[in-house]
């Protein structure tokens, strides 16, 4: 097992201790522990390690922290529970192991939640991401009535049937930390676990940024520029998908760069939405445009090595396989 962390790094005392404990737990299970994706995304699901890797037949187990930006949720730092930038801890296991619920509960115990002291519940919540063309069935995980995680069995991503199904766990890190630290205001979270003069709080790190980004998201973001950026990202995504398209018997060569543009379009849309310049009717069409990009990227990904285009022959079977109707006849 991993070396024991110093006391101040205990998950009940520090935000970073919570993250490190989860890293350790999922690394021990065998997950690839990744670092956050270096782009603005609305949720950990957008990380290509989830969106794209959930597709195709290849096994994949990964865990990572993902800063998530929801421009509309900005509250100028005045709401103790709502942030326009927060952290998700994301775990994806493909195919989902049969004991995924037990693994999840084990992770809660690892961060100090005793299931015989706290009421842990799996409450129906069917997850859907219209922009990613994704949906799955699962639960909100409640701890004493508070939603601390999202637990989903992906059925479809990028409009493509998942085969096999991945299990996705998303922990709301701030909420969880507030819970285990017993804090009512997110800005009061102890970040580094030290006390007195050495203590650094979540507010020390993020309060000013929350105020500034709220101003930016609601008041200052240049909408004309953003509208342009959306169009540019959409064009670039399509251009890259076209340029990288495989010829017979080859892989697609530009899926990840193309997908970056889809992410960019999605975040740009979220900013425009926060600025209130997108009408109800337009809204749907923007979501649809991002979904089309995500779908195209997903389809292209299946034509790559990571997407399992050669995985079938590695299996030794050497035959075309039904993987949601998309893999066959590629190689």
């Amino acid at each position: 097992m991993a070396p024991k962390l110093p006391d101040h790094m205990h998950p009940t005392r520090s935000f970073q201790g919570l993250i490190l404990t989860l890293h350790e737990y999922w690394a021990s299970y065998g997950c690839v522990v990744l670092q956050p994706y270096d782009m603005e995304v609305g949720a950990g699901t957008f990380h290509p390690a989830t969106t794209l890797r959930a597709l195709g037949p290849k096994p994949w187990n990964a865990a990572y922290v993902q800063p998530s930006r929801r421009p509309k949720d900005g509250r100028y730092g005045e709401n103790p529970n709502r942030l326009q930038h927060y952290y998700q801890y994301q775990v994806i296991l493909k195919p989902n192991p049969p004991n995924l619920q037990e693994l999840y509960l084990g992770s809660l115990q690892a961060i100090g939640v005793d299931p015989l002291l706290h009421d842990i519940r799996f409450v129906e919540d069917d997850w859907e991401s219209p922009t990613l063309g994704a949906w799955g069935l699962g639960w909100e995980c409640w701890c004493d009535g508070m939603e601390v995680s999202q637990f989903t069995y992906f059925q479809q991503v990028c409009g493509i049937e998942c085969a096999p199904v991945s299990g996705e766990l998303t922990y709301g890190l701030e909420r969880l930390a507030m819970y285990v630290q017993g804090v009512d205001n997110v800005y009061d979270l102890n970040f580094n676990g030290r006390e007195g003069a050495e203590k650094v709080t979540y507010g020390d790190v993020f309060l000013q940024a929350e105020q500034e980004y709220s101003r930016h998201n609601f008041e200052y973001a240049d909408t004309a520029m953003l509208l342009r950026h959306f169009d540019d990202a959409e064009k670039e995504c399509r251009a890259l998908l076209k340029a990288g398209a495989p010829s017979q018997g080859e892989f697609h060569r530009l899926v990840f760069p193309a997908y970056d543009q889809a992410i960019k379009a999605s975040h740009t849309f979220n900013l425009l939405d926060a600025r209130g310049v997108i009408s109800v009717t337009e809204r749907q069409s923007y979501i649809l445009r991002v979904r089309e990009l995500a779908k195209a990227c997903g389809e292209a990904f299946l034509r790559t090595e990571a997407g399992g285009a050669t995985y079938l022959s590695m299996d030794g079977a050497g035959r075309a396989v039904d993987a949601g109707g998309s893999v066959s006849a590629v190689v």
Binding site: R121, D144, G145, Y153, P164
Partner: protein, 802 residues
């Protein structure tokens, strides 16, 4: 007789699906047993969030042998036919068949086939996997390695592609035992997608995670209970309810009961433990309904009413009751504390919504156009919300335009109805304008079921007259047969206008209710109109009102410049096409449209409007006459249902509706039905009914034979005194009844008719209608026709039973 125990254990099943799923399981399994030739004595289903279970008692151990006789070919048939017979009957040699003689056909073969009965276990082993695979979950999923592509292995599991099992959440184990009470039951052995049946289950996820071996239902339920799982959902509900009541009582409070929440909560736990939490009293300034819904929707907790003698009606306490799934080590202190924190956070949001709704909106400047359109006062918060509802072009229905347009129509309609029901037209108009404003409030955005109620509260807070505030809530009423009917004239005006507008709109786009489908609750709207009109004694011409409502729609389409007359269709109807900027009208003066033109077109009743509301689908409006008459007969149907529920005779309603006259005034119809019922209960009424029916029957028979009936009665052709007596009586009764009907004194009309009874009786006693002289016969038939006509002013007596 053996019993069957079945348990399908899975990851957490959504609470709302459990009861139905368990019922489906019972039905599918017992139907399957019976279909396979088995019988059973009793079956009962059980469920928790993690399992569906079924207890079937007294199953027959084997299905019976079935004997069947199959006729074969003649003994002289060619070899080929005999071989075919052997194959189809499953025989190996023709010596196994019997020979029977038929006097006509001669000797032929007969095979006696015995289909052996099968052991119940064998049947169950086939049945359960089939049921599991075909289970009707409203939403199901794939999971794990088996959901991988065919031919690819993950560890020791191979992908099954599209054949993989689907279940509501991953299915983990199946218990299936079968056997008589006196012996150890056996495991019925089968496999579904890698899950092998057995006799092992697991208890409470945290309290008793170890394997439990079970034999039959009795020890299954008992062992699970020892492992902190109560499989009987109704028992869980009883426990939660009783404990919650006691806990509230012990704290000097009253539990606010909520059956829907109780059902849901009982499906979220296997071992219910009821606890109490609290929140700051400051939150009690939020309206109680909002508090209850906030705590219910987000936290699935019950609220408690205050029992203090000084409390306001419906006031809540600052305590709530939650149901945990564990017996916590600390007695539940942490759980109650944690839930309290979440409840407080939710109530902070609710308080924020409640306060935000009472404050100014940002960007009031951009609402100017809407403010002018509706005569709103931008100083007032609810007025601002109405302005925004209009400004944002919030859709009411894709084919029926925006909420703002809808409010405009309701406003004009309500103003027109106001004087009819004795309401101040200005108040009715003001109430209409604010009626839908709360759709733009934060609280209603969060809890749509509070629409109307919140509007009323906010209206009162901004100083609207009480009848206006009340009308905002009451215009949605009555919501059903048992809901209260508004009585304030202002509420009545808005309620009628709102419902008529809805009905006309959906009728026009042909979205009428069919069978069990009524997604827009149009039956409820029609019943609402009926109850408001009848129970308040309101006289209203329905066709007149629906006509006005249609016109509002049509003129709106024209005014918005969304339609211009484009061409006359071959069938004579007119198609209107969109012209947002009216250029079309200017460029083609002959196609110019105007409000008058549309009005005239509608007036002629030959109209079809094609509205191109959002520049996409073309929308066909049905001809106006068709809408009005169709809607009227819908009202009549609903009126029949309503009156029948009130105990009125169905045939009397039919008789009154068939008599013609002003059938679009529901109140008059109801009064006529009442008067008719009273009259028919009298001796005179019964006899007159008999006499009129006799007259009508004779007439109908003669009309069928094309016998000549005189145009008018000619007294010169009378031969009997009874004829003259009847003639005079009919003349008098007809005019008296006619006058009474005009005066709407239906009892008097009935009294006038009752004078006919004696002359009618003596006419039939003394006069033979079928005289040899055709002229006399025609004259007598004409006299009978007069009876029918006289009574027909009140009701079509031929439709009355008896």
């Amino acid at each position: 007789m053996p019993d069957l125990l079945l348990e399908l254990r899975s990851e957490e099943i959504p609470a709302r699906m459990q009861r139905k799923a368990a019922g489906d399981l019972r039905k599918m399994i017992t139907d399957g047993l019976v279909e396979a030739g088995l019988t059973y004595e009793a079956a009962r289903e059980y469920w928790t969030s993690r399992r569906l279970a079924l207890d079937v008692r007294g199953v027959t151990p084997r299905s019976k042998d079935v004997r069947e006789e199959r006729k074969g070919p003649s003994t002289k048939a060619p070899e080929q036919a005999i071989q075919g017979f052997l194959r189809s009957a499953g025989l190996t040699d023709i010596s196994q068949a019997e020979i029977q003689s038929d006097p006509k056909k001669g000797d032929f073969y007969v095979a006696r086939i015995v289909k052996q009965g099968r052991a119940a276990e064998e049947i169950i082993a086939e049945l359960v996997p089939a049921v599991v695979r075909a289970f009707p979950w409203p939403k199901s999923m794939r999971w794990g390695a088996a959901s991988g592509p065919k031919g690819i292995r993950y560890g020791n599991i191979e992908g099954r592609g599209g054949d993989t099992l689907r279940w509501v959440r991953p299915l983990q184990s199946i218990v299936c035992t079968f056997g008589p009470e006196t012996e150890d039951p056996v495991v019925v052995d089968f496999e579904v997608d890698g899950i092998r049946s057995g006799n092992v289950t697991y208890g409470h996820r945290f309290h008793a995670p170890d394997a439990i071996t079970v034999r039959r239902f009795d020890d299954y339920a008992a062992r699970l209970e020892a492992a902190k799982v109560i499989v009987d959902a109704d028992r869980r509900k009883e426990i939660i309810l009783a404990d919650a009541r006691n806990l509230a009582f012990a704290n000097g409070l009253d539990l606010v009961e909520d059956e829907g929440l109780l059902e849901e909560v009982s499906g979220l736990v296997e071992w219910p433990v009821v606890l109490m939490g609290g929140f700051d009293e400051d939150f009690l300034e939020i309206p109680p309904e909002v508090i209850r819904l906030t705590i219910r929707a987000n936290q699935k907790c019950f609220v408690c009413a205050s029992t203090s003698p000084s409390r306001v009606e419906g006031a809540l306490s600052n305590r709530f009751i939650l149901t945990a799934n564990i017996e916590a080590k600390d007695g539940g202190a942490e759980i109650a504390h944690g839930n309290g924190k979440v409840v407080r956070a939710r109530l902070s949001d609710a308080l924020y919504f409640w306060k935000t709704d009472q404050h100014d909106l940002p960007d009031l400047g951009e609402l100017k156009v809407s403010v002018e359109k509706f005569g709103l006062d931008l100083e007032k918060p609810l007025d601002q919300r109405m302005a925004r509802l209009d400004h944002l072009n919030v859709t009411f229905h894709a084919k029926l335009g925006t909420q703002g347009e809808r409010v405009e129509r309701i406003r004009r309609l309500a103003r027109e109805i106001a004087p009819i029901v004795g309401a101040d037209p200005d108040l009715a108009e003001r109430a209409s304008v604010l009626a839908k404003a709360d759709l733009q409030t934060e609280v209603v955005g969060e809890f749509p079921e509070l629409q109307g109620g919140m509007g009323r509260k906010y209206a009162a807070l901004q100083g609207e007259p009480p009848s206006v505030a009340a009308a905002i809530e009451e215009h949605y009423k009555p919501q059903g047969p048992s809901d209260r009917v508004p009585t304030d004239p202002v509420s009545i005006s808005v309620a009628l206008a709102d419902k008529l507008d809805t009905l006309v709109g959906f009728w026009a786009i042909d979205e009428k209710p069919t069978g069990s489908k009524d997604p827009y609750a149009l039956r409820r709207a029609a019943l609402g109109v009926i109850r408001i009109v009848v129970e308040n004694g309101v006289r209203l011409s329905l066709s007149g009102r629906t006509d006005t409502a249609i016109e509002e729609f049509a003129c709106q389409i024209a005014d918005a410049g969304r339609a211009a007359i484009a061409h006359r269709n071959p069938d004579g109807s007119i198609t209107l096409k969109r012209s947002r900027d009216r250029i079309l009208a200017e460029e083609h003066p002959s196609f110019a449209f105007s409000r008058t033109l549309i009005h005239d077109g509608l007036e002629r009743g030959e109209f079809a409007i094609t509205q191109d509301a959002l520049g996409s689908d073309r929308l066909e409006w049905k001809p106006r006459r068709e809408i009005v008459s169709d809607l009227l007969s819908f009202f009549h149907d609903r009126l029949k249902v309503y009156l029948r529920d009130q105990g009125a005779r169905y045939d009397l309603i039919d008789a009154v509706l068939a008599s013609g006259g002003s059938n679009d005034d529901l109140l008059t119809i109801v009064r006529r039905v009442e008067a008719l019922g009273t009259f028919l209960d009298t001796e005179d009424g019964k006899n007159l009914l008999a006499g009129t029916k006799r007259a009508a029957n004779i007439l109908a028979a003669e009309e069928k034979k094309d016998t000549r009936i005189a145009e008018a009665v000619d007294p010169a052709l009378f031969r009997e005194d009874a004829e003259m007596a009847l003639y005079e009586a009919v003349n008098l009764a007809e005019s008296k009844a006619g006058q009474a009907i005009q005066d709407e004194d239906f009892s008097a009309a009935m009294r006038a008719l009752s004078a006919l009874r004696a002359p009618v009786d003596s006419f039939f006693d003394r006069v033979l209608v079928n005289d040899e002289d055709p002229a006399i016969r025609a004259n007598r038939l004409a006299l009978l026709a007069r009876i029918r006509a006289a009574t027909g002013q009140v009701a079509d007596f031929s439709r009355i039973a008896g």
